[in-house]
Amino acid sequence: MSKKTTVKAGSKPSAKKAAKPTAKAATKTSKKVTTKADNFGGLSEEILLRMHDLMVKSRVLEERLIKIYKAGEAYFWIGGPGEEAFGVPLGMLANKGQGLAHDWFHLHYRCTPTLLALGMTMIDSIRLIMNRSTDPSTGGRNFANHYCFPQWNVAPVTSPIEVQYPIACGTAHAQKRFGKKAISIVTGGDAGTAEGDFASALILASRKGQELPILITVQNNKFGISTPFEGQHGETNIADRARAFNIRSRVINGNDPVESYLAMQEEMEYIRKTGKPSFIEAHVTRLYGHSSADGANKKTHMFDPVFEFENRLIKAGIISEKAAKKIWEIYEEEGVLAQEKVRQEPSPTSESVWDHVFVGNENADWRKF
């Protein structure tokens, strides 16, 4: 991704630093990796704890964003609480970096967990929702969770649903030509699969002899804004549609981070090995409804992947209750401090509307031609 260097805003943690959860110090790790009853798919304790840490971080951040919205310090909220068990492993597994040798991400607006796993800081997300000029993704120009991080090949999140799918085929095409086994990853919602762009991607990714190295995913939370799954789908699984294009596909429980991790790892390996596409439909929870448009209130009756995973780790003796609680507290504090800091940060200036219409700030105002 090409990158403009004149405007720099926000903190950009290094790849190394990002990989380490900041609250890890708080965890008291047990020597025992697994219990007989639950072997966590053979995943190491380190991976499990990192997943847990990032899932908590993501939840705390999203709840902070909702609070910011409800306090009137932001105009809109949309995000991914409930999708942590899918989003976090996705970010952890990718080959992160800039340029064609690394994976590309074409994410939608519920992708905070993935971004945190890639190394985004909480404060940069808060800068975005509070539309400060320090917001590294959009400079205060776009909605919550419309992230863009060129340094990790994270394409800009677009508001129009599903356009990211064919765009992902474009980066996958360039990656295939480059030949370094990097892949493109695209995420989106179940209702959005009614858009033609979804079909476009299935077609573009699967043409015989020209298959693309792309991981096509759908996070099925069973809802559009208010339209239930049954209201728009005749197919049993969305993944079945990929099969019609000879794209390898599977349905996973996206509420289980272990299942998500293992499935995505397997599919990514397959794509890198064969250069062919793969499709994952992940069943997830939409824990706070659609967005601030429908209240952003927690649905207490729904499965909560973060709490469930935490309890599972506690039960297996991988983390203590106390240590887990500490992680929540550390991130809560980080979020509060970040919000206070961002409050003091500058807003975009009025004149900056003309910036970046064209590359190099070439004159875009016809009054000045």
Binding site: M1, K4, G170, H173, R177, D355, N363
Partner: protein
């Protein structure tokens, strides 16, 4: 002399050889056809996409995001309408990301009437395109400009829409493209795919040179003193013809070929209107709401006290389509007589 189609083909060849163009794609763009207007015959990096305009534009955006250069084609502008939000996104990506993500892509598409293409092969797109901020939009009227504007479009780091007139595809100019053989038959033998027994055919490209027409710079194609006619693409030739005719009566018409819709050459328009005091804007897109209206508005705002007559816009009629029968098409988009009448009217007006 090369035709516009041959000029585009040569520009794309120059692009893939020297400017890093890695993909030239769209419906039927690759072998065996090389484009419905032959503009992509014999190109190394040309390939056929599925019949999916949204897929084509989305794919182009993805390729451009990686920094690779591509030229995507929409077979007819008439079918670009179902990609309009993607064009909007391509135009706003740099802005939305606060300058971080550039999309150096070219989208080319044949536009306009003049070939009796009826309702779905006669659409114009210039006025629509002018409402896609973040894009540059060019519309060549002759082979040399077609070549030079394509090279500029490829080199430009912004998305560029290259609108090529269907009716001009076989039009030949009177200036050689640098490197083009003087003999037109020789050029044909070198780069046109044989109609028969084309299997295994490969073009022999002439030794082409870089030639750029800067985006945003217009050109006076006929100088005059009494009225300025601002136009582009196919209408340039009609306006020039009328200008030549009226010159015999002593009506001196200055014709400006705008060449770029956005950014546009206001300084050229302005200095010409300051000289003539009268202006007519001619194009074939529908009159409501027309790009010429914007220019007429600006002329009124900035040059009101220098004008000797009301500025006029002559454009396509505001109809749902352009009918197939010549009586219908000719009464829908400006014809020689319409242009002549409009010029006479503006010239005759007395303040």
């Amino acid at each position: 002399m090369a035709s516009v189609a041959q000029a585009i083909r040569m520009a794309l060849h120059y692009g893939e050889k020297n400017l890093g163009v890695k993909d030239i794609f769209g419906q039927d763009v690759g072998a065996p056809l090389g484009g419905v207007f032959t503009a992509t015959q014999g190109l190394k990096n040309a390939w056929n996409s599925p019949l999916d305009e949204r897929g084509i534009i989305g794919m182009a955006m993805g390729i451009a995001m990686t920094g690779d250069r591509c030229v995507a084609e929409i077979q007819f502008a008439d079918y670009i309408f179902n990609t309009i939000d993607l064009l909007k996104i391509a135009g706003n990506t740099l802005w939305c990301t606060n300058g971080q993500v550039e999309l150096p892509m070219v989208v080319m598409t044949p536009v306009g009437a003049g070939i009796f293409g009826s309702v779905y092969h006669s659409h114009s797109f210039d006025a629509w395109a002018s409402r896609l901020p973040g894009w540059k939009i060019v519309m060549p009227s002759n082979p040399l400009d077609a070549y030079g504007l394509m090279l500029s479009a490829i080199k430009d780091p912004n998305p560029v829409l290259y609108l090529k007139s269907k009716a001009l595809m076989r039009h030949k100019g009177d200036e050689l493209i640098p490197g083009e053989p003087v003999d037109e038959k020789e050029l044909k033998a070198m780069i046109d795919k044989p109609v028969q027994n084309a299997e295994g055919w490969k073009p022999r490209w002439p030794d082409l040179e870089e030639y750029m027409v800067p985006i945003g710079k217009g050109k006076i194609t006929h100088s005059g003193e009494h009225i300025t006619v601002v136009t582009y693409s196919r209408m340039v030739h009609l306006c020039d013809e009328v200008a030549a005719k009226l010159a015999q009566e002593g009506i001196s018409v200055e014709v400006i070929d705008l060449r770029s819709i956005y950014p546009y050459d206001w300084q050229l328009i302005k200095s010409s209107i300051e000289k003539t005091g009268r202006v007519l804007f001619v194009n074939e897109d529908t009159e409501v709401t027309n790009f010429g209206e914007h220019l007429a508005y600006r002329a009124t705002q900035e040059l009101f006290y220098q004008l000797m007559a009301r500025p006029r816009v002559l454009a396509g009629k505001n109809l749902p389509g352009i009918g197939l029968h010549p009586n219908l098409e000719k009464n829908s988009v400006p014809q020689l007589t319409d242009i002549e009448l409009a010029i006479r009217e503006v010239v005759a007006e007395v303040p």
